[in-house]
């Protein structure tokens, strides 16, 4: 066994800087586009593929590389995204159909009246739309528009946390820890909200700031551990999620956080000065936190695409070794990006305590932190993509509740559809294969010159 021949992808310290990654040039050996993309993405088999495949970023830019615009649309990413959503919805429909006892009877005379079967499958989806976008059965305009405001409310924390996950993805970090960061943001924000009594305006700002700091601390710890010791962020974030959760549960039993006179582990209500103002009046839950989410999206967009540190983040994400060689302080970028990602998740926590829930409880983060991962993946880790993905999943969430109430279809189906969407989107070749859209061995690889394989050189001592 030769174990020391290849430095680990995440080898800590400055070792890898000394020896620039010896690229395995794939040139011309394989003609399949997928393979070349992956080699590009993994820096020639030196690191795990990123969450945002290199192909995604490349294809959307150089359109000049042959193939018409029409072709691009049909095999491109937008098409894949749309098809993924469709496929997931169809599969979800099949699942609902199979498990619905009424469908079993309807299927009996399927050939006589295929419409009945379809109705049974479509009914939950109708309820889903009714519960998330527009309720045409509502009596007045308020009731009719209530679902869409509900969707926006539910989307708010999803978007904020999703942005945090997406930002970390772009820097090549898997931030599974949005859950813990949301909890910390909520913890800090809520404490500032109910323990301090400040004038209107200032109080909300302080609460938001406290939430940002809380999330940034919990995210920054991950970045620090990763940069200083090389600890893998996936493991650290998963563990910190649990630690944050238990810490929250513990704090809610202490006098500082528990509501006076309550035996339940819940905090006092936040001061009214600490709450996000309601946007459309008291009958809707929609609050100004949604505006904060839009603002956050703009800020992240600016950060990633227009600022120096954003460029550094992306460079580190694309290839840390190359970035280091180019003089970028990778450790600093890692810590910074995790802190910012944590702050965004912390904002989601603030949106929860200061907008939707108005107090702190053990379930404040629900499963937002995990949904945020799927949101970021669906949004392909771009700020606006994440924003719209957050809206879509918010609609699923809000509509799922209505669906469960109306048609007794368990809300868990939403989880299934969401995860299927992400699974399909993560594997464009799979979707293309299903729909027969695979480009037939088109242009050969675009990267590098055909050259001898150098990957095996260092392994001379192997075996």
């Amino acid at each position: 066994m030769s174990e020391k021949t290849t430095p680990g992808p995440q080898a800590p310290g400055s070792n890898d800087a000394a020896e620039p990654a010896e690229m395995q040039v794939p040139g011309g050996v394989t003609s399949e586009a997928v393979a070349s993309d992956v080699v590009l993405d993994t820096a020639g088999g030196q690191m795990p593929p990123s969450a945002v495949p290199a192909a995604t970023q490349r294809r959307s830019r150089d359109r000049d590389g042959g193939g018409s615009v029409l072709h691009e649309i049909f095999t491109g990413n937008v098409m894949v995204s749309v098809l993924s959503v469709l496929l997931a919805i169809v599969l979800g429909g099949i699942l609902m159909a199979v498990t619905n006892p009424k469908v079993a009877t309807a299927a009996g005379y399927f050939f006589a009246q295929p419409g009945d079967l379809l109705t049974e499958v479509i009914r939950p989806y109708t309820a889903l739309v009714q519960g998330s976008i527009f309720n045409w059965a509502g009596t007045d305009l308020g009731a009719q528009l209530y679902p869409i405001t509900e969707t926006l409310t539910v989307s708010t924390p999803l978007i904020c946390a999703g942005l945090g996950v997406a930002l970390a993805f772009r820097a090549g970090l898997f931030n599974i820890g949005a859950q813990g960061q949301i909890i910390f943001g909520a913890l800090f924000g809520a404490y500032a909200g109910f323990a301090w009594h400040l004038p209107l305006g200032l109080h909300l700002l302080v609460v938001i700031l406290a939430g940002l700091v809380g999330g940034a601390v919990w995210g920054g710890v991950v970045g620090l551990l990763k940069a200083r010791t090389g600890a893998h962020e996936v493991i650290v974030t998963i563990m910190l999620n649990y630690i944050a959760n238990f810490l929250l549960l513990f704090l809610l039993t202490t006098p500082a956080f528990q509501r006076k006179g309550s035996t339940n582990p819940i905090s006092p209500f936040l001061d009214s000065t600490a709450l996000f103002p309601e946007l459309l009046g008291p009958q809707f839950r929609l609050h100004a936190g949604f505006l904060a989410a839009i603002l956050a999206t703009v800020v992240v967009w600016w950060l990633l695409n227009r600022s120096t540190i954003g460029f550094e983040f992306r460079a580190v994400g694309a290839n840390p070794n190359a970035a280091r060689t180019a003089g970028i302080n990778v450790a600093r970028s890692t810590i910074l990006v995790m802190a910012i990602a944590g702050a965004l998740a912390g904002l989601a926590g603030v949106a929860q305590v200061s907008g939707t829930e108005k107090y702190l409880s053990g379930g404040v983060a629900a499963t937002i932190g995990f949904d945020a991962i799927t949101v970021a993946l669906l949004g392909r880790s771009t700020p606006w993509g994440t924003f719209f993905a957050g809206l879509l999943f918010g609609a699923f969430r809000a509509g799922g509740v209505a669906m469960q109430a109306q048609t007794q279809t368990p809300i868990d189906i939403v989880l299934v559809i969401q995860s299927l969407i992400v699974l399909f989107i993560a594997a464009p070749p799979l979707v293309r294969a299903i729909f027969g859209l695979n480009p037939r061995k088109k242009k050969t690889t675009t990267s590098g010159t055909p050259g001898p394989r150098t990957g095996g050189v260092k392994s001379g001592a192997a075996v």
């Binding site: 290849t6 310290g13 794939p26 795990p48 996936v234 563990m239 513990f250 993560a426 990957g455 192997a462």
Partner: protein, 506 residues
Amino acid sequence: MSATTQSPAGKQPGTGKGTGHASSDGRTVTPANATELVSWKTGIGLGLLAVLGTVLFGFLANTKSAGFRIAEARDPNASSAAAWVTLAVALAAVTYLGYRWISQRRKGRAVDRWIPAATIAAAVVLGLAALGVAGVEKITVPSMALGWIAAIVLLAAAGYSCFLTLQGRRTPGWVGGLFAVVFLVGFMIWIVAGGRDPEPSISLGGLMAGAVTLAVPLVFGSLSGVLCERAGVVNIAIEGQLLLGAFSAAVVATVSGNVYVGLISAAVAGALVSLVLALVSIKYLVNQIIVGVVLNVLISGLTSFLFSTLLTENPEQLNKPGRLQAIDIPFLADIPIIGPILFRQSLVGYLMYVAVIVIYVGLFHTKWGLRVRAVGEHPQAADTVGINVNRTRFVNVLMGGAIAGIGGSFFTLVSVDAFSKDMSGGRGYIALAAMIFGRWNPIGAFLASLLFGFADNLQSTITIIGSPVPSQFMAMLPYALTVIAVAGLVGRSRPPAADGIPYVKG
């Protein structure tokens, strides 16, 4: 930083006194050791823990005594006979191992790596058997005095480590081992003495047996992780494999009316999750962590949905699997403490021991294992010598899934006899942690799982007797330990080099 980035190989100058990490590294003797800078991390880490220990066990000690009940046997005659036999066997083992240890040292040869651990294990068994023979039912110790003794030992060990670091030498493994054991004992005594009763006590046998029971799914899950990651595929989907295994075991066992069929179906279900993982990540080259995370969500949603729609409608026909009964191995099951742990298990429990041994031997002592590890460490090299990298990975991921699936069946066939929503409760992630804590080694993963199971069980035990530590902090312990482990504060855990990187031939 320079010393800490060293691979673990550098930490163990070939005396073989290393801790339980028996992978293929640890053989190399780095000649530059003498002049190298030694990291202060161990010294400082131990020092902080020692101070913590002194404060807790010494200054915050309770004046009460702490009692530890030894498991009470069912048949006193059988028990004492078993204890005598164990005593004899353990005595022989300790003598033989000790003789080998000393003779190897005298000849100046490196002591085989397994000997110290085996000797200590045999000595522990000897001690327990002696307790059984003497008919001791309960040990009561003064917590204050022992707390201070433990604190002093901890401080001394930390001081010794710092002294060695000053001299430019590395802290040997036994200091860390001693520190861990003393800390654990001191902690136990402190925790128990803090109970509500005037004379608080806990059942040591029950604590151990419960720990092993709780560890069963963790062990299977972490073994699944070891199999996959040694071949270079990150398996975050352990949680999903456990959950689908549990679900499938419950449903199939109920429908077929046979728990063993349920057990097999659990393995198939776990392998099915793995099939998706392997297909998407190996064939379609999607990032393995993404696939794992998404699969967990998918399985959680799918099983919850099916549970709500089908299983709750019709629990009698779909969710009443029956149980795998515990099987006593006659005579051996009567050995005090060890008996119930090792020899009073369900079929799944025995399968666990078999799986640990088979995978350990398979990975480190067979041609197959060498190939698997080659694929995980350096796929290009493995490919060059004619190993089919992606097929090896595919097969390993499938096997890993099947094993985790069997672990999942534990939930529905052994511990509770019905499926419920999200019943794996994040144990897949703890299994992942156990695998890392155990340094990608089956034995290490097994021991780490036991530690986590122990922490879990201790948490529920001390909630009952009442304790000075809030139960949430006890629940946090496995996760905090894992963070410390991956941050390299306790040794350095290094994943297989090609872990997570898809292999594209060419």
